[in-house]
């Protein structure tokens, strides 16, 4: 597979995965906020989820931009 095709596939993958993760994050946050029994653990859960998701998203975006620039 040549590099330009791979770049196109990367672009589609990046857009779709970001959209997928974003929508599911909103749905999860809605569930946690509305249906949680223990609200003290809720803050910790949200913090851990947002932290890990942000790190993964930052790394993915950095690599994606690196691919586009190369």
């Amino acid at each position: 597979m040549d590099t330009s095709t791979l770049k196109l596939v990367s672009l589609l993958t990046f857009v779709l995965s970001t959209l997928f993760a974003f929508i599911l994050s909103i749905v999860l946050n809605y569930h946690w906020t509305n249906y949680s029994i223990n609200t003290t653990s809720l803050k910790k859960i949200q913090f851990v989820y947002i932290l890990i998701t942000s790190i993964l998203f930052f790394l993915t975006t950095a690599l994606f931009l690196n691919i586009l620039a190369s």
């Binding site: 590099t3 791979l6 990367s10 993958t13 990046f14 995965s17 997928f20 993760a21 599911l24 994050s25 749905v27 999860l28 569930h31 946690w32 509305n34 249906y35 949680s36 029994i37 223990n38 859960i45 989820y49 890990i52 998701t53 993964l56 998203f57 790394l59 993915t60 690599l63 994606f64 690196n66 691919i67 190369s70």
Partner: protein, 176 residues
């Protein structure tokens, strides 16, 4: 949101045993690591001798996307199978809240004074060692029974239910 009666308090919040969650975590860890093994296999055996350095950025990118999706799916599974699947023991009722996927939720309740029998099933070596199992709560009449699976310390929960069963507000009311 769960609506409690005026004089109702939550006595116990019961979720699945940690072992069941640990199995889920291990499965998702395995899922997250599978592409790494595939990449190692490819780089060592199949394209031996060929320069693949220009593909490294793509491989790393697709692996990160895979990790991101695995993490999101794990969060969904953890939320629906563990965090929002909960049984509440109050001083008046036993509430079983079951999150079925992301868009379906089932809430069943049983008044404590109607409970007639509770069965505890602990099957297998691991549940016996770690003390978790299934609780089957039966009411009077033809109502279906509550089946609560993989609960930690099922005998302790059974005792708690019977303890509060004997002092539920309505029972007290009737005896006066």
């Amino acid at each position: 949101m769960i609506q409690l009666y005026g004089n109702e308090t939550i006595i116990k919040t019961i979720r699945r045993h940690w072992f069941v969650v640990a199995i889920d975590i291990l499965m998702f860890l395995a899922l997250a690591l599978v592409p790494l093994f595939v990449i190692m296999l490819f780089s060592n055996n199949i394209i031996k001798g060929e320069d693949t350095s220009h593909y490294n950025a793509f491989i790393a990118f697709f692996y990160l996307v895979w990790l991101e999706l695995s993490w999101t799916m794990f969060s969904v599974a953890w939320t629906t199978n563990y965090y929002l699947d909960v049984v509440l023991l109050t001083n008046r009722r036993l509430l079983k809240i079951e999150q079925k996927g992301l868009f379906a939720r089932d809430i069943a309740e049983m008044r404590l004074e109607r409970i007639q029998d509770i069965r505890v099933d602990i099957m297998g070596i691991i549940p016996s060692l770690l003390d978790f199992g299934t609780l089957k709560v039966q009411t009077a009449g033809e109502e279906e029974q509550f089946v609560i699976v993989d609960v930690p310390n099922p005998n302790g929960i059974k005792n708690s239910i019977f303890e509060h069963h004997d002092v539920t507000p309505s029972t007290t009311k009737q005896s006066i």
